[in-house]
Symmetry: C3
Subunit: 354 residues, 3 copies
C-alpha cells in the first residue's frame, strides 16, 4: 500500500481514552499505544515494551509515566525507560519510538512521519461533534472494513455510486452518475462540488418535498472528508446559473469522515453526521445512513476479495473517476517526495497546508 | 490441483437462480456470475466488473442486460459493455470473459474450457429431482467441504469404506470391503457394479428383511455420479450366476451426486436422493443419508488436514482403489491433452461422449 | 522453534483415553494417536494411516489392534499393518512411525526423540492429582494458548511478573520483582527458590493473616514445572537467616504444570493444583488461579502477536530474566547435541537425569 507518512491519521475517538487506561490502536500496520499522563498531556508510543515485546496498551498510567504490566518496566512521556524492577541500572539508550499525537474534532490524531514536520496546522479543516451548537443534532459511528483504506477513499471520491449502490437507501436518481462534479485540486486534497436539482433531500425517506441541493466536499490526505449539504427551493440552481450558493450560511447537513489504514487489507472508518435540529429532535437519525454504509461495506469488501483473487488486473478509469485519479496521483507524489527525504540529506517535508 | 477444464461442472441448483437476482458461484477457484435475461436465457460471466473489479453478482438484471450496482456499468448477454454512466463513449474492446452455461437435471452447469468444445451432449447422463414421477419420492441437499474435490471423488470411487466408516449408519457388513466390484472404463468415466447378497436394504435402519441388491454406479469427469440400487429376493444373484439383473426396470433407489472444486482446498457436494414411494410418503427420509454424509465429511476433512501437514507423503494403492486409480489416470490424461491444445496449433477437444 | 526431542512431553490427561477410543493429540506439530490395547498396554503412532493419510484417531481399538475406520487397515501395537480388507497380501515393510508412551502423574507422556534413549527415569520428578492423600484437595485444568510454548515457559521462569500482571489476583506486593530468587542449575532443568516475608498467603483473597512463605520450583526440559509453597509464622525467614526451611515437610500448596508445544505458534498448558485440606473442603478453589491464568494468557497471546508483527526485534535481558536465560541456553545446548547425534555415527543421547 502506498500511503503518505507525513500526515495526521485519525487513530481513535477522543472519548475512547479514559483515565489511567492506555489505548491500543493500529495505524499503517503499526501497533501504537496512546495515553494521557497525570497533567492531561497526550503521548503515543509504539505498543511494544522494549523488554520482551509485551503490549504497553495492557499497561497502567502512573501519573506522568506508563508502566508495562508484564514485568513492570516504567516509561516517561518521552518513551525513555526510567525503572526496571529488580535492577538498579537502566540502560541509557533504551527508548521507545514515539508518535506526535493530538486531540481535535472529537478525534485523536497521530502523525506517522518525520517528527520535525508534525505541524498541527496540517490537521484537515473538518469539524467533529464536539462543537456544541444548540440548533444542531449529531450522531457518530465507526465501521471496521475488511478492505484496504484506499478502496474506501475511492468510494467517497466517486459518488456516482450513489445512484446505484444506494438506490434503496439515499433514493437519489441517476443524476449523480450522469452529470459530472466540479473538481478543484487543493494543496493536500481536492474539492468536489455540484448542484442536484429537484430531488428529495439526501437521506430523507419517503419525502415528497423536492429541493435543489448544493453538495460540496473536501477530501484530504490521508483520507479525511468534510461534506456540507445546503438545500434551497427548486429553481435556485437555475437562478444562480449553476454557480455556488452562499456557503458561509450554516449547512443543513454535514458529515466528517476519516478512513484509517489499519493493516494493508483492513481499515477503520470513523464518521460524524450533523444536521440542523428539527422540532424536538435530540439526535441525528442514522437509519438511512446505517443502511447506506452497510451497502458500501458489502460492496467494497467483496471488491477487495476480487482484487485478492486477481491481483494482476487493472482498473479502467472513467469520467466519473476524475477525483479518484487526482487523489491517487497526489498521494503518490507526496509519498515519492517522502522517499527522497530518506535518501538525501536535503530533507524536506511535504508542503504545509495554508 | 489437476482438473479437466473441457467439462461441465455443476455450479448451483437451478432453483437458486431467481428473477433479476444474479447468482455468484466459484468453480475451479474462478468467481462466476450466472444470470437469466428477460427472455429466459442463461448467461455466465467472470464475476469481476471491468471498471474496478466489483462483484457483478451484487448487480441487477435489467431485461436482457446485467448492471453492476457499484457505478452502474451495463453489460449485454455476450459480456460487452453497453453503457458507462456519465461517459458517452464506451471502449469497443471492453468485454467480460464468458462461460457456456446451461440448466439440466435440476442443476446449472458451466463449461470451464474451450468454448468451441462446449457440447451439451457431454453433460453426464444423470437424473435430477426435476423429473416428476408420481411413484417416487425425492430429497436433495448440499455440503461444503473443507477438502479438495479429488478426495471426495476418491471416497465415492472406493466404497469399501462403507463397511467401516458407515458401520453405524448404512449398517452393511464388511462385504463391501471383502469382495471387489466389477469396473468398466467409459469414455469420460467408469462404471462400477456388484451384487451384495443377503443383506438389509441400504439405508434402512433396523430392518430384518434381507435382500440381494445390485449396486451400479457411473462416475463421470469432472466428478458426477449416478448410482442405481435394484433389490431382489435373496437367491436372485445366485440364480443369475452373479450376472447383472435387468437394469431397464426402474431402480428401487437412485442417487445423483456432483462434487465441484470451489478452490484448491474446498469443494461443494450436491446430491439428489430418490426412491420408489412407499405408502403415503411424500419425501425421501434423509436421516441415514445425513448421518453417513456427516461421517464422510468428518473423515475427509481430517484427511485433508493430514495431507496439508505432510504434503510429501504418498498414498499406497490397494485392490480396493482400482476405480480411484483408473479415474485419476483418466483425469490426468484428459488434462494433459488439454495442455497440448494450448501448446499446438492442431487444437483438438477431448473426445466427446457417445 | 528450538525444542529438545529427547524428552518426555505431556500429551494429554490419562483420563482422556477411554476404552476402545483412540486419542488424537499434536506435539511439536506432529499428529499422534495414543491408544490402549486389550491388555492395557499403551501405544502411540503417527496419526496417519499409511493407505491414504486418514486419521487413525478416528479409528477403533479391536483388542490388541487398531483399525483405521476409513477403509479398514488394521495395525498391531508395533505399527505393522496386519490386514488390508479386500487384499490377501500385506506389504511387508508397511509400518507406522511409533512413539514411546507412558502414563505417570495423571498424564500421558510421549517421547519425541531417539527410541533407544527413551528412559522413563527422564520423566521429571513431579506429582499429579492421582496420589490419593486424604489430607489434601486438588483441582486440575488446561488452557490452549495461541502462543509459542517458549513464551509460556518464560512466564513461569520469571515470576517478577506476579507483582504486576497478577496484582489483582495473587495480590502480592512488588517484592517478587524487587528481590532476586536463588537459581540453581539442574542436569535437565533448574531450581528457583526464595523467601517472601510478611505477605498474605498466595492466592488467598482478602486475607489479613501474614506469613513468611518459602517458594521453591523446579523447571525441567521440555517445559514441566513443580512448585511447592511452605508457609511459616512471620519471622521464620529471619530466624533461619534466609536459609531454606525443612522442605521434607509436606507443602501447604503445590502445583505441577506442563507446557506442550502443539504447533510452532500454539501450546497446551496442563496444570494440577493441590493444597492441604481445610475444614470440610472437597476440592481446590480455583477462583484466584483461573483469574491469574487468564491474565497470563491475555498478556502472552498479545506478546505473540507483537512478536509476529516485529519478528526482527530482540528481547532485552534483565536481572529478573536469569532463570529464563539459563533455561534457554540449556534447551539450545541439548538441541544442538541432538543435532550432532543425527550427523555422526558416534550417536549419544543427552545425559540422563540422575
Amino acid at each position: 500500500m502506498t500511503y503518505v507518512r507525513n500526515a495526521w491519521y485519525v487513530a481513535a475517538w477522543a472519548h475512547e481514552l479514559r483515565d489511567e487506561l492506555p489505548l491500543g490502536v493500529r495505524v499503517l500496520d503499526e501497533p501504537i499505544v496512546i495515553w494521557r499522563n497525570g497533567r492531561g498531556d497526550l503521548a503515543a508510543f509504539e505498543d511494544y515494551c522494549l523488554h520482551r515485546l509485551a503490549r504497553l496498551s495492557l499497561g497502567r498510567c502512573e501519573g506522568e509515566r506508563l508502566r508495562c504490566m508484564y514485568h513492570g518496566w516504567l516509561y516517561d512521556s518521552t518513551g525513555h525507560v526510567v525503572e526496571i524492577p529488580g535492577q538498579a541500572r537502566v540502560p541509557g539508550g533504551a527508548r521507545l519510538r514515539t508518535y506526535p499525537v493530538t486531540e481535535r474534532h472529537s478525534w485523536l490524531w497521530v502523525w506517522m512521519g518525520d517528527h520535525s514536520c508534525a505541524d498541527e496546522k496540517l490537521i484537515p479543516p473538518v469539524v467533529g461533534f464536539d462543537r456544541a451548537e444548540p440548533e444542531s443534532v449529531y450522531a457518530h459511528g465507526q465501521l471496521d472494513y475488511a478492505a484496504e483504506a484506499r478502496l474506501v477513499n475511492d468510494n467517497l471520491l466517486d459518488l456516482s455510486h450513489v445512484s446505484f449502490l444506494h438506490a434503496a437507501s439515499f433514493r437519489m436518481s441517476d443524476v449523480w452518475a450522469r452529470e459530472p462534479s466540479k473538481i478543484t485540486p487543493l494543496e493536500r486534497g481536492l474539492r468536489s462540488e455540484r448542484w442536484i436539482r429537484g430531488e428529495g433531500t439526501l437521506g430523507e425517506l419517503g419525502t415528497s418535498d423536492l429541493v435543489d441541493t448544493y453538495f460540496c466536499y473536501e477530501m484530504y490526505v490521508p483520507g479525511v472528508l468534510m461534506m456540507t449539504v445546503h438545500t434551497y427551493p427548486v429553481g435556485t440552481a437555475q437562478a444562480l446559473k449553476s454557480q455556488p450558493p452562499d456557503l458561509s450560511r450554516p449547512p443543513g447537513q454535514f458529515t466528517t469522515q476519516a478512513i484509517t489504514p489499519v493493516t494493508s487489507k483492513t481499515a477503520r472508518y470513523f464518521y460524524t453526521m450533523g444536521r440542523r435540529r428539527r422540532g424536538s429532535e435530540t439526535t441525528y437519525d442514522m437509519t438511512v445512513t446505517d443502511q447506506a454504509f452497510a451497502e458500501d461495506k458489502m460492496m467494497i469488501e467483496a471488491q477487495q476479495q476480487n482484487i485478492d483473487s486477481a491481483p494482476a488486473r487493472r482498473f479502467i478509469p472513467t469520467a466519473a473517476d476524475q477525483a479518484s485519479v487526482l487523489f491517487k496521483r497526489l498521494v503518490e507524489t507526496m509519498a515519492r517526495a517522502e522517499g527522497s527525504v530518506e535518501a538525501s540529506t536535503d530533507a524536506q517535508c511535504t508542503p504545509v497546508h495554508p
